[in-house]
Symmetry: D2
Subunit: 138 residues, 4 copies
């Protein structure tokens, strides 16, 4: 069971993170899937998707997975993010982020995100692990 | 001694990485400093500088430090990047990246980047360590 | 299909890494599972398993997964390792490492390792992602 | 100014972390230096110092830097640790860890540790960044 639906999360993000990348495809138990259609601002020559685009996209997918579990929390912020770049992602295809939370404590959430290209969804283009700090509720 | 001057690196990047963030302030022995003036696209509400902006900026500062040492190499790519977010960076001030290479091998370069806010340059806002893969020369 | 069996890898490691931790339970396509029975040298007060024990154990599990794919290679070395500590692991139980390779190139292998406690195998105690550098064959 | 002297920290660690590696050389403002004399249990063939030895040593150096700032706190635990392996460290020489805290908040401490070999203290053998979670005081 999740605390927020896809639609509720999108509305919430429109308020607190309007510049975000991508759209939510689904949320589930401790997980979320998002898709990003690549625009010029996301490109490096090739064209391929730029590293910062993919890291930022993975970051928001983690945030969405957390929101789905804990409800609308604007003060949850990234504490650390580790990214391994595995393969180039063609700029001609969408990228899809699969976020999975491995721990959701009172103060810290930790998860991993695999991003794939729509060109071949079996081969991750980046592997991210990240921690989010959650504010303490009074 | 460096292989490229600031001007030469800027020209090279205009060809291979035109969408990059920031401008180079200086390059030195195994090091580089860059500055980014914050625009709307870099913001989160607050306003503060977004995490992906800071990670991407640190990434290009590492690349510039590498170029300064090895000359124009378009095929050097980020292999992994680790980012700790230390403090919020106000969206009203420039951010400055100080990149330092700790290892420059034939195949792999590893360095760290500290990013500070022009509001208080004594307190890093993020700490990044990253590896770059260098193509083997024939 | 793997290049080496569990028995072959154990023999090879007896030569090149005799101080290693744990024993191999199985190897598969781009994966390996290992088990470690906790001894005094692995403990912190509690008793719980020490962080360095878990990081080192994850590291060797990655190496085993790589060996299973590429054959006996003593010169494959860890390039970077990132570890998130999720939960304490009781010193009274074995720990089990599940290593999965996400990329196996000519020069670089990248994978992730989830370590669980035999006390509750559903909850990872650490999440590791790591890169290994593979020597180029002549 | 530090909250604990080297001698006080060593005594405290004898209680809460008796299996630790190394000895403290000095502590300073947001920093600590430690030295480890290499024994058989730390070796890989070569002989060189094993990766887990170096990661564990960096981890305790971070903890010592934190203790020096906040006083005896047995419940400060590593949250994440990222390690880049730069060079082999000869098993015939001591290794020295230089830990520096970049942030010391109420709940989280973040720092970096450079480990060098006594054979050549100018060339780091590993670069570590890590976060520690600090328990909230009532």
């Amino acid at each position: 069971m999740t605390e927020m639906t896809v639609e509720q999360i999108e509305h919430f993000l429109d308020e607190v993170f309007p510049q975000r990348m991508g759209r939510i495809e689904s949320v589930g138990e401790m997980s979320a899937t998002m898709r990003l259609t690549i625009g010029n601002e996301h490109l490096r020559p090739g064209p391929r998707v730029s590293g910062p685009t993919m890291m930022g996209f993975a970051d928001v997918a983690m945030y969405v997975a957390i929101l789905a579990q804990i409800g609308p929390e604007p003060m949850a912020v990234t504490s650390d993010l580790n990214c391994h770049f595995l393969r180039a992602a063609s700029g001609d295809h969408d990228i899809i982020a699969h976020a999975k939370l491995l721990k959701l404590g009172r103060r810290l959430a930790v998860g991993e995100v695999q991003v794939v290209s729509a060109a071949d969804e079996t081969k991750p283009v980046i592997l991210v692990t990240a921690s989010y700090v959650l504010p303490v509720k009074s």
